[in-house]
Symmetry: C2
Subunit: 232 residues, 2 copies
């Protein structure tokens, strides 16, 4: 993490075998296992970005990670298990994003700009994680979709707490704050998808998407002063 480079998109064709062969000797068993685990997670994330969770087999993940299929079970009970682990990891990066946005000390319109920009940068730096979240949020079938749903709801609730600190929102009911937070999260996930679908490097498209995202947020916040909590 000391380096500013993206952490998951690297090492495309390096599997554990070569990795462990290249490195110097002093590696404990724990460490070796942890490395393989990471290799599995990275391989899975990479493959999911191409074909989605459902389209990737245990064998493929194992092969990409540089181990034999049956060794997969030393780390995860099943692909679903691995999927859930990835959900937690991805949500961690999402929380990291909002923490960055939160710590940027600005207000009102300036804050919207800063937040959207932070989001966009974060998406570009962690494309695979965001692809995974977006895809499986709706497309998944089992435990993975469920896990994402739960985590995202939690995330939205945290955002509601943040919102409650703003002047106009201080007296809103919890229900209304949650509603607004959900709306914001949903809108921002839409923006994430737009960013992911625009091909990376197309700065013009990125700028347009960011501008639209800002407008969305501004429109939502414009409604706030006129809102009467508890109405209808």
């Amino acid at each position: 993490m000391a380096v500013g480079a993206p952490q998951c998109e690297v090492a495309y064709n390096v599997d554990v075998r070569t990795l462990n062969a290249v490195t110097a000797e002093p590696v404990s068993r724990h460490e070796r296992k942890e490395r393989t685990r990471r290799a599995l997670l990275d391989a899975a994330l990479r493959l999911f970005a191409e074909r989605g969770f459902g389209g990737v087999s245990l064998r493929e993940v194992a092969k990409q990670a540089g181990i034999v299929p049956t060794a997969f079970y030393r780390h995860f009970a099943s692909m679903e298990d691995l999927g859930v682990a990835l959900v937690e990891e991805s949500m961690r990066t999402l929380r990291g994003m909002i923490r960055s946005a939160r710590n940027d000390p600005r207000t009102s319109a300036g804050m919207i700009r800063a937040s959207v920009r932070t989001l966009a940068e974060h998406v570009r730096a962690n494309e695979a994680h965001y692809w995974f979240l977006i895809r499986e949020r709706y497309g998944g079938t089992g435990a993975v979709r469920q896990a994402i749903g739960i985590e995202l709801r939690l995330f939205s609730r945290e955002l509601a707490v943040d919102l409650a600190r703003f002047e106009y929102l201080r007296e809103w009911s919890t229900e209304d704050l949650n509603m607004m937070a959900d709306l914001i999260v949903t809108a921002m996930l839409g923006t994430v998808l737009d960013l992911l679908e625009a091909r990376q490097g197309d700065t013009e498209a990125d700028a347009r998407i960011v501008r639209t995202a800002e407008k969305r947020l501004r429109l939502i916040t414009l409604g706030v002063p006129g809102w009467r909590t508890g109405q209808a």
Copy 2:
């Protein structure tokens, strides 16, 4: 189809063979083929609702429809081809929904209520279609996700045209209208997912979801009078 029953959820265990065997003779070749095609689409839609597009094999669809796997190719070149056909069909029911909502002649707050209610009823009456759209909108991998993306964008543009008729929105730029329409569509798709995930028959949950959806829309529309097109 003369009966008023839902059209896709029925006939769970009836395949083409038995259907064609039961019915009286006067069936042309065209008609028989069309029936089998429908059986394939219905079977696919049914299976997709359970395991998603990616999780269903050509063989399964064929078996559920009552034909042998290789006969599938008499109707579709591939599963993707069938998927795209299903996208068009599902979008047709979505357009049907908005047409119903549009023809309900009310204004302002009353219109929001009516629209959301129409949406909820429509979702309940066509769960499989909506499951398919929502799932593959994000989760899909190939031509299907792309087709949904295109159709949904088109749909959103139509909504923008509708919006332009409203008093406060008459002077908005096209870009801003599209932005608002996208926001509304995204928010409503979120509502659709909420409805689909609430188990059918839970009228209390349905009511809560509908209320939240109305609030979302109301918050968005509240911002409209304060909006200055072309700003920032």
